[in-house]
Symmetry: C2
Subunit: 200 residues, 2 copies
Amino acid sequence: MAAVPPPGAVRPGGRTARVREAVLRAAGDTLVEKGFAGLDLADIARLAEVGKTTVYRRWGTPGALAADLLKDMAETSLPRARNGDVRADLRDNARLVVKTLTDPRQGRLFRALIAASLCDGEAARALHRFYAVRIEEWAGCVTDAIERGELPPGTDPRRVIAAVSAPLYYALLNTGEALDEAAADRAAAAALAAARAGAL
Amino acid sequence: MAAVPPPGAVRPGGRTARVREAVLRAAGDTLVEKGFAGLDLADIARLAEVGKTTVYRRWGTPGALAADLLKDMAETSLPRARNGDVRADLRDNARLVVKTLTDPRQGRLFRALIAASLCDGEAARALHRFYAVRIEEWAGCVTDAIERGELPPGTDPRRVIAAVSAPLYYALLNTGEALDEAAADRAAAAALAAARAGAL
DNA sequence: CCGTTAAGGGAACTATGGTTCCGATAAGGG
DNA sequence: CCCTTATCGGAACCATAGTTCCCTTAACGG
């Protein structure tokens, strides 16, 4: 069976690249403004000033488009803190998450992408990969802390980082509770306490 | 301004009630099978064997339909545990959440409803209310524990219950990590440790 | 029971998301 | 610099979600 390459893979430069860029920008803007339910491919084509056919051929569905956007986002990771102190590192991480989720653009974008991941398998895989990358970056804080003797050996670094974010996302998605700096500091403190007790 | 009652509110009995029941069942089935993106009102009407006009008139959008389903679900709350021991109570809660989220039907339904809440404001309010009700029911475990001296006074009961669920939903939605009994017990242990340390 | 009228539903209509076809353009190897 | 062909994109087309109109049915107050 001759493997048929997906459109855009053989000659990815020049015009093809420009089209992708324009489409991803339009998709991001639309997700921010109208959420995942408002992500219409015909609309995207108009907004990106690109042929409707092209968008349907290269992406096909809103879910695949969201997945591509996530792949793009996963490549730009922000560097972790290095305070030499877990408490401070975890607090910085929690505050960064809150800052991201409460930012008018980023917050809406993240929610829309989570919605996408719940509607489309490919988007789900891309989202999980995105968080895996983000968590991996910050896991270093915990690894260092274990080496410094601040946390018990055997602690799972990624689990600790996930424990910081978890209550913040739970507030965002499930309860609709407000996200502020106090919530961030509480999340960091709770994760730290759990880790110190050897529960993670 | 004469307050115009929403359709179905003046004569909610008999046929009207039967239609709502059939439509909500069809909506649930569809959400389980196809997710929120597949929730099409014309489809629902066919499946529920109800006039298409009726569905559009009474619910209007997929989001509103999901919201109505959530309101219906919020009314049936499952009773909390009463082991006389927080550790056991929180563990039972965590295991119940995992059991729900990994159940083929319930798990898909919950994910679809969260997706709905991210696409529609009304559904979002209904979902937040749903979780408020669920958390309130189990908060009693923590209140009792504080009275028994198992947890420090000043601990926020709802926050503790939320802390149990948070990492489980984070695994479900963000990382895609597997949810099993070990994950449940870990979540309960972490929340307990954080609460004991006075972080919640 | 009856009468009022809220609610349901069939059918025709409209708007638009998504597909198909095919010619135009330009990426990238030689 | 040229040639092959991957990719783009305009235009016509199709399917169907959502709307509108209006008649039928039955809830429920008296």
